[in-house]
Amino acid sequence: MTPSDARHPILTVENLFVELSRKKAVTPILQDVSLSLPEAGMLGLVGETGSGKTMTARAIIGLLPPGVHVKSGSITLDGSELLVDNSTAMREVRGVQIGMVFQNPRTALYPMSSVEAQMKRVLRAHLNLARPNRATRIHEYLRLVGIDDVRRVARSYPHELSGGMAQRVVIATSLLCEPTVLIADEPTTGLDATIQRQILELIADLQARFSLSVLIITHDLGIVAQYCDSVSVMNEGRVVEHGPKRQVLKSPAHEYSERLIAASDLRRIRRAKTSEPQ
């Protein structure tokens, strides 16, 4: 265990093996993945396309694609095991206690209902609130994520929102049930630099105000360096390195993390016009 895990871990993944079975062939997808998200901490899970970072998130929230299943391992939320057979009860726990923010916010929203209608649906499914209180709560949460003209946004349909605004709505929705853990899968990929900063600042602000524990899944080491406390680096379905961000980013122990960090700093190839293409 590394020093960053000194705080009580709220969400842990231990020795998780996930595989894809199709016909008779079995392909391992995650191999021996262990993560630990400290309470009120922000953990970055980084890796490139196909590294298994998104699959790890989906295993945690119990939304693995068809054919993909957990072979062995353990996922605990606040001490209670999530990988038990009684899946409906667990789904309820996950739905309420874990909020999820996806990449591509506009497709994460249901295109046929207004923002308010879909947020109400979430409330109805998970919380026992009197009808008049629902709208109040929705407006309160939209304001919380920095939306000024709450009424207009609440009435809007997803296609009428800009990417940044849609991501704010997704974040507000994921917070409706007051989760203890927020999982954000590439929350700013595809958003512009100015909007990316706004969304990241928002997540950091919410984390501090509500002592949320946040798992940020990203390919961008800049986000890790600036916003996370600790980082787990994934490659080919395995966690290759884990530690406080300073330690990992400044003196990576694993060769893959080193390569990733080097590649993120494109300044190196500046005017390196004589170098050979690889």
Binding site: D192, V224, A225, R246, K273, P277
Partner: protein
Amino acid sequence: MSSLPMGNTGQEGASIAIAVEGLTKTFHTRRGIPNVVAVEDVSFSVETGSTLGIVGESGSGKSTVARCLLGLTPVDSGAIEVLGRSLVGAPAKQLRSWRSEMQIVFQEPYESLDPRYRVHQAVAEPLLLHTDLRGDVLGRKVLDLLEHVSLQPELARRYPHELSGGQQQRVNIARALATSPKVLVLDEPTASLDVSVQEGVLRLLLALQEEFGLTYVLISHDLTAIRAVCEQVAVMYAGRFVEIGPVDEVLSNPRHPYTEFLIGAELSVDPDVSPLAGIVRGEVATSERPPGCLFAPRCPMRVDQCEEGRPLFESVAPDHVAACLFADRSVDWSD
């Protein structure tokens, strides 16, 4: 503002590969929906063999500039000269024959390739269109091109979906280079690639530029890519250039608040280098175009004067201009 704000002052020897003046493009939509001004009064020139970066956010009009540069989108007004030929109003047939000398690589490596064309067919297509190469000679030329972009010859018979993103983009580059063009427009060529793959593609582009003396226009939202390959950079906001100059000069000494913000918003991978404390509020307004500075609604330095008219380019250093009333002052981000 109509004179070229950048370029060849005092450098009589350097030839100009691309000259654009007063480029304006409005997309006309159906009745009832306001027209979208994509590009407004954009002027620049690029010297032969050098790279101009155009940086901006989505909706800034930078991709429209790229398409106009190749005559893929008709322009409303303005002049575009590429390799001494005026593209505006050129007949379609003429434009088609010029395409062998100016090419484009798009952001989406997979979507840019016809899914039914094998790699060698895709790379051969421009040669079939513009040259008389056929048969074995053509085949050898294709393999030669693949080698140039560091693709193994075994990949020639694959379909695009059987390649990785980086390989797909290399195929796009090989195809664009097939007819030995002199001008290559790169529209976010690395945006959808993993970081380690980005590096390889950028290195490749630099090596090819060196080898063939290519002139590049690199469209990107990513300052790291711009910094890595460009000599000059133009910053675009809401359809207009707001700052142009040598890349080192502009990025180390930005004179437009938007440029300064873009640089400040970069997230360093070094945890000890903090990004700019302030963040720009709001979003780019796409439908409203007030008469003044288009960045004014979001600008921390805004004064009433900003809304009276579009600010003119002010020279702040040799070859370095910025369209801001306060180009000579620094921004105070603490608000």
